[in-house]
Amino acid sequence: MHSLVLVGAAFLASAVEMVEALTIVLAVGVTRGWRSAASGVVAALAALGIVVAALGPALARVPIDSLRLAVGVLLLVFGLQWLRKAILRASGLKALHDEQAAYEAEVRELEHRPDRSDRHDWYSFTVAFKGVFLEGLEVAFIVITFGGAQHQVGLAAAGAAIALVAVLVVGAAVHAPLSRVPENTLKFGVGVMLTAFGIFWSGEGAGLAWPGSDASLVAVIAFVALASLGLTRWLRRTAAPTLETRTA
């Protein structure tokens, strides 16, 4: 019975962390392309493997709060910039000229580099890497702390492995429907997710005690989404008509 409880606890705790990593990888993969996002995931898993193999049980002494703080602040800065652009576009203030300019710049670059397949998107790579590495490290902590307490690290690792399979199945199921969502809606959603994760992790790293622990992440996501929709409506009603009049 104790073994089942241990596997179940490790499964649930690991699944929460893995879903967080999956959300980030899906977000960058669907909006910016899968190749660099996938290479970020592979690099993070390799780095994670090296860290876990090198440190073993000493892993529990890694300053996870400092890591959360650094990763959280970077995600927050990146997420806010993404959200800002998505809100400006959604409210009609970010001109379509930007898309045209981006397209022309892309065409110019492709003219110099006909084989697009060797281009590397550092944004996708880094965001996917950070998400997977941090969450993977937390899963390793869970396995070591849950399993170590009962001297059954193998069983805790089995729980985490089952969680990995379950989360990968969910990821494969939702990835296709996500690619049919309009581009700016997706970018808006990614901005919301990155900003919310950034708030949550940097808050944890800064020493905040979120009410309900990991469950409060859902509330933070909802808050950021509602506030961003409110800001979009505010810009549509106030700024967009004024600018249209002035530029007409």
Binding site: L74, V77, R84, D98, I199, S202, A206, G207, R246
Partner: protein, 91 residues
């Protein structure tokens, strides 16, 4: 007559482009279109870390982040208004 080794030059050029792209990535990542966002985020998280030592201030961070976003949007609109007659510009 031996032809110049263009593949080595092209390799060096690609390497430099890679370094420049990598540096550009970090600049865009941290500074982006509005440098003040990064500055405010660092300030807010730092203040949160100080306040969290004594008080339960969890609502502060999400609220402050939305205020930073609103201020950045307002600045973008103000800049666009100021240059509206000169034609469209990057927000």
């Amino acid at each position: 007559m031996v032809a110049p080794d263009r593949s080595a030059d092209a390799g060096d050029e690609d390497g430099m482009k890679g370094v420049r792209r990598f540096a550009r990535f970090w600049y865009d990542f941290i500074v982006g279109d509005d440098w003040s966002i990064a500055a405010w985020v660092v300030g807010i998280v730092g203040a949160t870390a100080l306040l969290a030592r004594r008080w339960d201030v969890w609502p502060l961070l999400p609220l402050a982040v939305i205020v930073v976003l609103a201020l950045s949007l307002r600045r973008a609109v103000r800049d666009a208004r100021a240059t509206a007659e000169e034609g469209p510009r990057e927000l």
